[in-house]
């Protein structure tokens, strides 16, 4: 497990995205339902290229980063597990044969749906205050932003792999 440029870039992206989502965007006055889940976009970008196991692993680690960025999750570990499942689901969209442009956004939609279901489910179990509208708007924003970011990520990933840096 030699650290590669791609691995470093991925880790850096996840940390920066987690900080951005938790600190900078609310600070800039973006209302909470409109903050995209940038970390999930990164997880999906990896998962659609590498498959379910890799996606789940990246999702779990990225989820832990999100969990540890203050304010830490409560209960700790829940976000990590939900993101892991989301990465797993996104990984199922890997098709080496097809190069359709819609595959990555579809995987992101599925992963966002998993995250939304995880949040709503834990909200129901914990205290029963379910904010479906906020969750849905967050899902839509995430898919919209991901639709712009994902092609760039995939192209970068492929380029680095081709040059044996990944």
């Amino acid at each position: 497990m030699r650290p590669t440029l791609l691995g470093v870039l991925r880790t850096a992206y996840v940390v920066v995205a987690a900080l951005l989502v938790a600190t900078l965007l609310p600070r800039l006055g973006v209302p909470p339902p409109w903050v995209p889940d940038l970390v999930l976009v990164g997880v999906v970008a990896t998962a659609v290229l590498r498959g379910p196991v890799h996606g789940a692993l990246v999702g779990l680690l990225a989820g832990w980063v999100v969990e540890l960025v203050p304010p830490a999750g409560n209960p700790i570990g829940l976000t990590a597990l939900v993101t892991m499942v989301a990465g797993l689901v996104a990984g199922l969209f890997r098709r080496t044969s097809s190069r359709s442009r819609l595959r990555a956004p579809a995987a992101l939609l599925a992963a966002s749906a998993v995250v939304l279901a995880g949040h709503l489910g834990s909200a129901v179990v914990a205290d029963g205050s379910v904010e479906v509208v906020d969750g849905l708007s967050r899902l839509l924003v995430t898919v919209a932003v991901g639709g712009l970011l994902l092609p760039a990520f995939l192209a970068l990933d492929r380029a680095l792999v081709r040059r044996r840096l990944g």
Binding site: L19, A22, T23, L24, R27, V53, H54, A56, L57, L60, L61, G63, W64, E67, L68, V69, P70, A72, N74, P75, I76, G77, L78, A80, L81, M84
Partner: protein, 277 residues
């Protein structure tokens, strides 16, 4: 075995995460330490990102918040003290032994009217059927007592009936909540006065309690309310009227419970004036 290495790593990490999650849900203290790690490492970055204010500014702001809290607290105490003073100096408590109390809970009865809970109980010497007054007049009577709190049936509850004297002449009557079968429509929150004797009340007449033996359940002479409308004469034997209570049942805060004082000394005979002896 190479392809299964990520799989094994995933299973180990996921189990670890699940274990930490369950431990946190079970209240394990180590989970807080895991949280602290995140704050320790990423907290400074977040501070820098959010542009934390300079120390001097932060100190002044904190001081400001502290002083504001202090002022609000003091103002609250002052208000409360003012209300107690007003209550203790009011006509409803003058010359009586009282236990000051405040309302800690209220409940609207489905049958109409309101019952409130006050923060004094049997340990403070409260007994059932004690009279409860506010600065403006009669509130109700104590119906249930627990060691630290008591429940008060407020004037206008469905089954509260108060014997009263009306006006300067002191005509006898009863004040109760408007009954469902009442022939007159009365504004919300007002009470129904029914005279016992065949005389007519006048709008503006003050309604005071008649009083009971040993001041339970109602002490004598407390203001209940004012007559606001007299029902038209439809040939009944006795007249009825609408009474606006002196207190606002929805905004009772500081009250006093009258301590019933039984009379022990026999009353002395007084010579009438102008008897010529």
């Amino acid at each position: 075995m190479q392809p299964s290495a990520p799989r094994r790593l995933l299973v180990v990490l996921a189990s670890l995460t699940l274990a930490i999650l369950l431990a946190d849900l079970a209240g394990w203290a180590g989970a807080d330490r895991v949280r602290d790690v995140g704050g320790l490492v990423l907290g400074p970055v977040q501070r820098a990102l959010s542009g934390a204010p300079h120390d001097e500014l932060a100190r002044v702001e904190a001081e400001n918040v502290r002083l504001r809290t202090l002022t609000a607290d003091q103002q609250h105490r002052l208000d409360e003290l003012g209300r107690v003073e007003e209550l203790l100096g009011s006509a409803s408590t003058v010359g009586r032994r009282v236990i000051p109390a405040r309302v800690v809970a209220t409940d609207l009865s489905p049958l109409g009217g309101r019952s409130v809970t006050i923060d004094v109980g049997s340990r403070d010497g409260i007994r059932t059927d004690s009279t409860v007054v506010a600065a403006d007049g009669l509130v109700g009577r104590v119906v249930a007592v627990s060691p630290w709190t008591s429940d008060v049936q407020v004037l206008g509850s469905a089954d509260s009936v108060v014997a009263v004297r009306v006006g300067p002449a002191g005509a006898l009557g009863t004040v109760s909540a408007p009954a469902p079968g009442d022939s007159e429509s009365r504004p919300r929150g007002s009470l129904r006065l029914e005279l016992v004797v065949p005389s007519a009340p006048v709008v503006g007449d003050l309604v005071r309690t008649l009083g009971s033996i040993d001041d339970t359940p109602y002490a004598a002479g407390l203001v209940v309310g004012t007559v606001t409308a007299v029902d038209p004469d439809r040939g009944q034997q006795t007249r009825s009227a609408t009474v606006r209570p002196a207190i606002d049942p929805d905004a009772i805060d500081v009250v006093a419970v009258l301590v019933p004082t039984a009379r022990t000394a026999p009353r002395q005979a007084t010579p009438a004036r102008g008897s010529g002896r």
